[in-house]
């Protein structure tokens, strides 16, 4: 991909910047447009409503209209806020969630950065989001914001543990931290996906399947909590905290928090896809291969990757409109008393299975 861009632009520097900005314009912005609308539509239909209907056919341009509105909004900054930190926080949050996309393999042609510690990087860079949230919450000089930020951070830190343990399990199984390599280990058909035991053979594969399912459920729950979505949305609990750490934000800064939230949802969905569902690999083989058109394969892969990722985003929305919000103590109980013991047990069992 990078070489291809250098060929086009003739300069590594320009190619560098283009490669860096590409996922933003290729994936995140269109995705956010679709996802925000999808969220509203899904929620509406789940509640037997129709949702936005007046901008275009069934309201498909609603998000565009909303963005236009947000751009025009006045950028309100209260007098007693900490201006520097207040202005910097949205960018930090957005950087954190956007930087996670750097290591994701979107297709065999478009692997962001195939570094050998991709998985580790993915987990680490999300701590920038944590710092950003804390920054935004504190600098707003508003008790709701601060409470929201505190809750958010303690939640993210707690739920990072089960996530990390499950990721560790997967690292033991695949013996690499490179997301591209993990993807390529799950090539060919869907029974090679890690959720179905991966490339292991014989009895080990069957022993792994239930463990992998459990691991998948754990990481799904904990990443859901990390992106602050319902039922784990106590950081922005509307009925208690107005809207949590971004209560004081308006206009484009608010939009950046919003975008970061949706980008985060997509990022963790992609992570789950790579770890358990074969990354960009098709479950049935490629049309391009059977037709003999070589350039079709990467495009197909991109489509498969996006489809799988968006499926998980949809499930996240589905869950959001199904479950009520957890209480703080319930939230911590789920994490410390259930997810962590289970994930440690899975870690040990998987380690045992991979040894024999």
């Amino acid at each position: 991909m990078y070489n291809f861009l250098i060929d086009i632009f003739g300069s590594p520097v320009i190619a560098f910047f283009v490669a860096a900005a590409l996922p933003l314009f290729l994936f995140i912005l269109p995705y956010a447009l679709i996802a925000v609308l999808a969220e509203r539509k899904v929620s509406a239909h789940m509640q037997d409503r129709l949702g936005p209907m007046r901008t275009g056919y069934h309201g498909i341009f609603q998000t565009v209209a909303d963005i236009l509105k947000l751009i025009q909004k006045e950028d309100i900054t209260a007098n007693s806020i900490d201006r520097t930190l207040f202005n910097f926080a949205p960018y930090l949050v957005f950087i954190g969630s956007f930087a996670a996309f750097a290591v994701l393999p979107f297709s065999s042609f478009f692997v962001g950065s195939s570094i050998d510690i991709g998985l580790f990087y993915f987990l680490a860079i999300s701590s920038l989001v944590v710092a950003g949230i804390l920054m935004g919450g504190w600098s707003s000089n508003n008790k709701y914001s601060l409470l929201g930020a505190m809750r958010s951070v303690s939640q993210i830190i707690s739920y990072e543990i089960p996530t990390a343990i499950v990721v560790l399990t997967m690292v033991m199984l695949t013996s690499t931290l490179n997301l591209d390599t993990i993807t390529n280990q799950q090539t060919a058909y869907f029974w090679n996906w890690n959720i179905l035991g991966g490339a292991a053979t014989g009895i080990a594969k069957f022993l792994l399947i239930p463990l992998m399912f459990a691991a998948f459920i754990i990481i799904f729950i904990s990443t859901l909590a990390e992106v602050n979505r319902t039922p784990f949305d106590i950081p922005e609990a509307e009925s208690e905290l107005v809207s949590g750490f971004f209560t004081e934000y308006t206009g484009m800064k608010f939009a950046m928090f919003f975008l970061a939230e949706y980008a985060n949802m997509l990022a963790v969905s992609f992570l789950i896809t790579v770890l358990f569902f074969g990354g960009y690999h098709s479950p049935f083989g490629y049309l391009g291969n059977s037709l003999g058109i070589e350039w079709l394969v990467p495009i197909e892969q991109g489509v498969w990757f996006a489809t799988k990722g968006l499926t998980f985003v949809l499930v996240q929305m589905w869950l959001r409109w199904t479950l009520p919000r957890l209480r703080v103590d319930q939230l911590m109980t789920v994490c410390w008393k259930y997810l962590i013991p289970y994930s440690v047990a899975i870690l040990l069992l998987v380690g045992f299975i991979t040894l024999i």
Binding site: H45, D48, R49, I217, T322, Y338
Partner: protein, 197 residues
């Protein structure tokens, strides 16, 4: 320990049950309607905006008196025999010109109490429920049909009629007084002797 696993299982299972329910609802038809495009049908006897059929109103002021918030104000004028307001649709004679019939719908509480006492059933609830206005004064509905000229005309006529009647009365009174005087004089003339005695 057993409870722990039961909790885990229940947690997951109930989530799945909930997800099944929401998934089913995803395909249910919406229960909402697209309001400005599709209007809800009002039930029979819905209480919304008032309407007064002025052809039938006899100006009896009963509705105004029934109203608990005094939002109806009526002024009437007696008619003259040569220019009567005609009859209601049920054949009742109207005796009064209604010169003012204002309903301040902003004050109205839609209690419908004004509807029942009306003897000619001319004030009624309609099914119109969209009548927001930018000015509060626009919410005062004026039902009286007479134009100001007509009103002055009728007032004049009534005044003339009244004056004529007054004059007549005066004349009659005068005549009566005259007569009484004459009678008295006559009487006095008849019994002069008695007086003298």
């Amino acid at each position: 320990m057993k409870q722990y696993f039961i909790n885990t299982w229940e947690g997951l299972w109930t989530v799945l049950v909930g997800m099944k329910i929401t998934f089913k609802h995803l395909f249910d038809p919406a229960v909402t309607i697209q309001y400005p495009d599709v209007k809800p049908t009002m039930p029979e006897r819905a209480r919304n905006r008032l309407f007064v059929n002025m052809d039938d109103c006899i100006g009896c002021d009963q509705c105004a008196r029934a109203c608990p918030v005094n939002c109806i104000s009526i002024e009437t004028l007696k008619s003259t025999p040569d220019d009567t307001p005609g009859e209601t649709s049920q054949g009742k004679k109207k005796a009064l010109w209604v010169t003012k019939f204002d309903i301040d719908i902003a004050k109205c509480c839609f209690c419908s109490l004004c509807v029942y006492p009306c003897p000619t059933e001319c004030i009624e609830m309609t099914k119109v429920y969209e009548f927001s206005e930018f000015e509060r004064n626009d919410l005062i509905y004026k039902f009286a049909v007479l134009t100001p000229e007509e009103i002055t005309d009728k007032t004049q006529k009534y005044d003339e009629f009244q004056a004529a009647k007054e004059a007549e009365k005066l004349a009659a009174a005068k005549a009566k007084a005259e007569k009484a005087k004459q009678d008295a004089a006559k009487k006095a003339d008849d019994n002069p002797d008695k007086k003298a005695e």
